[in-house]
Symmetry: C2
Subunit: 463 residues, 2 copies
């Protein structure tokens, strides 16, 4: 097969159909398969969509790609926010969405074995009746897949206490670029045999191998949960509240900081009144586990001491509503030209980051707001022009892009990173050299080469 | 310089002295620098010992090794238990013991930055006045170094709750094989820029780069601690107690299972009476954090339900004594020909592992006993011949070696691993193919090649 042949994709499609079955391959995929939520992909991209039903189908797809030198873009649910799963012209988009078996739940070993296409929230739903949960909870948890979460090392709201996705992955089943099936890791929490391929694969954004199944650590549901809301006059004081928590022994399961702009957007969308007069920022916190009364007392004392007006949310329904409002922050403020960013800073620098963000907005004449997973220093600034309507078909206005560049550089100057939890994909590659040294990038490309010598897996992305 | 020249090492020593200072280099090192606690090394090995005073000294050593094609064995405190730091004839042992600055402790960011040669317990001692601790606690904590702990991804007693060393490492400063300084990772808990070199380096046993400094996550000291002792008639019942904990919401910070043989050895060494009549095995547990009374009540209920006789150790001194006895288990039973093993199994299989261990001992006519970090399935069997005196200068008796082989194979059959926390080094390499597929080993060698193309860093070990 000759990749320069104009009929190459047709011929490849026929061979893929032979291998996977006709209903698992299409040369005319729905538009959504072209990209993700950050980068919709170009309408004129010609690619095949393969949706194999099982691991053998994934292997067959990769063997064929290997044989023909065809680039492959692995894809979970397409819910990514960094253009990590954007179709490549003349390539295959390899969707894992049909691999959705929860193969096993074992409460005694505290593990579950799930296929890559399982929706993350479905796993926790399956675990709950047995008294367990899966800790990583990216805001996309109801639409994203475990495989995608592992490929991006997804974060979320509860990472300061429970860790990011990485801390909940014990073992992987992956398919290498030539179709070889590789199992890595252990079913036990401990294990130090050889280099830790599991850890290298986590967060590799589809560039090293295709993840087909994951052994995750599961945890017992906490005996109690408690939501606490603290209002502060200013963002700086809310950030000081985070520092006060750091100095204390109490460690909330979630510590979300919402600034006035984010509160206004959420209130406008949800009809709530979080951003009431005098509230410059809010900390929305969750405590869980044993000693919930002691924890609550300590937290109230800490936050009151830092100048917060603290409210314990006793009613479960009210608490759930608050968390829903928090999770709505990406949708809030929609309809206008807007960019959602994702950076992280050492958590003591949050106040500076928020101050710089406001200053950057003023300088570029744009509106800025942010929510932060404050316990781990991860910040999601929203940069918008309220008078310019949203239009995914055109580039974002220049002032927004210029401001985003300054936001990313500011995070780095504060000792942070250009991506807290969304990944690099295609949208952040132009900033890689700001964070990584030439020695680091060179090494990463050599590791890529070691896994994928012909450069077929998500080529030109992420690294 | 010609490595075949009989005076090569002398010439190299002179050049190293020029670079590091004469007091940092010796061609006649003390015997202890030849190996570690598992593999003392051969008396006739000719090597140079370099003990640079700073990171630049490490870089200079590696530049010279790179230029001359000299193998380098990185070394922490030499407290390893798998022969990971054994001198190579004609090579350099690069000791990190003089890099012992605690560069920074930052309670607000919850990080500390420490050089590789810092003794692990010294870090926690420095953190305590500020109300923090460093969680990983291998039994060697008072003699091993942070750099060595990271190089082996060391475990310990508190890993089920707090994770192994990996979960406490945020960023690394390493020197590559050619002397290039590389910084990896982030000061924030989150960060997903590029491949995670930090994670790949952790546990790589000196084969990829030389770790010179580590940014670790620190945690607030728990508000309370409680020690609980549960006696069971049999090992199987104690293992059932572990399963009962898994089914409950309580998660001890430490869950140590000691069988009758281990208790007898400890009692003989320490004058204690843990292995009193009717006690077939003991669970020694630590609870910590908020709600200590609720936790204790739940744990008592769970363990009593599983057939244990449960005792809460109220007095701090008595609790500390029990943990000292536990930590003495490696020394207990000394003086006789003995091998200490390190395997892990899925934790629900502990009862089977203990049963098989006893059976293996019977079959080979040797004495067996074991302690287990039961919460993470990690087991340290001791295989001995009480009538044969200990003699490190001769090989262990054949029945012990044959039994060890069966122990390792049994752990794998139960879904476990050949090394839970000690690493592979030189002593476990002959078992690697039992656990890792040819595809995995091949990939690991290609990753090694990407980091160290001339194969100079701890060559022929670990992978």
């Amino acid at each position: 097969m000759d990749r320069t042949d104009p009929l190459f994709l047709e011929t490849l499609a026929a061979r893929l159909c032979d291998a996977l079955g006709a209903d698992a391959v299409t040369a005319a995929p729905e538009a959504r398969y072209r990209g993700d939520r950050a980068e919709p992909g170009a309408a004129d991209t010609r690619f095949l969509l393969a949706l194999p039903r099982d691991v053998e189908g994934v292997r067959a797809t990769l063997r064929l790609a290997h044989e023909t030198g065809t680039p492959v873009v692995p894809r979970g649910a397409g819910s990514g926010l960094s253009g990590g799963a954007v179709a490549i012209d003349g390539g295959i988009v390899l969707g894992l969405e049909r691999l959705r078996a929860i193969r096993e739940i074992d409460p005694l070993d505290e593990v579950a074995v799930v296929e890559a296409g399982v929706i993350t929230a479905d796993l926790s739903a399956a675990l709950a009746p047995q008294g367990f949960f899966y800790a990583p909870d990216p805001a996309s948890v109801t639409i994203s897949t475990i495989g995608g979460n592992v490929a991006t090392n997804a974060g979320g709201l509860h990472c300061a206490k429970y860790g990011v996705t990485r801390e909940s992955v014990l073992a992987l089943e992956v398919v290498l670029a030539d179709g070889t099936l590789l199992r890595t890791g252990h079913r036990s929490l401990k294990g130090v045999t050889g280099l830790d391929l599991t850890q290298l694969l986590i967060g590799s954004e589809g560039t090293l191998a295709v993840i087909v199944a994951v052994t995750v650590r599961i945890r017992p549901l906490p005996v109690a949960r408690r939501t606490v809301l603290a209002r502060f006059p200013t963002t700086a004081q809310a950030a000081d509240g985070v520092n006060a928590i750091s100095r204390s022994p109490v460690r909330p399961a979630a510590t979300e900081l919402l600034d006035a702009g984010a509160l206004a957007d959420i209130d406008a969308l949800g009809g709530s009144s979080l951003g009431a007069t005098g509230t410059g920022a809010v900390l929305l916190l969750e405590l869980d586990g044993y000693g919930i009364e002691e924890q609550t007392a300590d937290l109230i004392s800490v936050l009151t001491g830092a100048g917060g007006k603290v409210q314990v949310i006793e009613a479960a329904a009210e608490a759930e509503q608050l968390w829903e409002l928090r999770r709505s922050s990406r949708a809030a403020g929609g309809g206008r030209a807007r960019l959602g960013e994702d950076v992280a800073v050492p958590k003591s620098r949050l106040a500076e980051m928020f101050a710089q963000l406001a200053e950057i907005g003023r300088r570029h004449g744009i509106r800025t707001s942010a929510v932060a997973h404050a316990g781990d220093g991860n910040l999601h600034p929203a940069l918008s022009l309220p008078d310019v309507p949203e239009d995914p078909s055109v580039a974002l206005p220049a002032p927004i892009l210029a401001a985003a560049d300054e936001v990313v550089r500011t995070a780095l100057e504060l000792g942070g990173t250009i991506s807290g939890e969304h990944g690099i994909g295609t949208t952040k590659q132009h900033w890689l050299d700001l964070e990584l040294s030439p020695a680091s990038r060179d090494l990463q490309h050599r590791l890529k080469q070691a896994f994928d010598p012909h450069g077929l897996l998500n080529p030109g992305r992420a690294l």
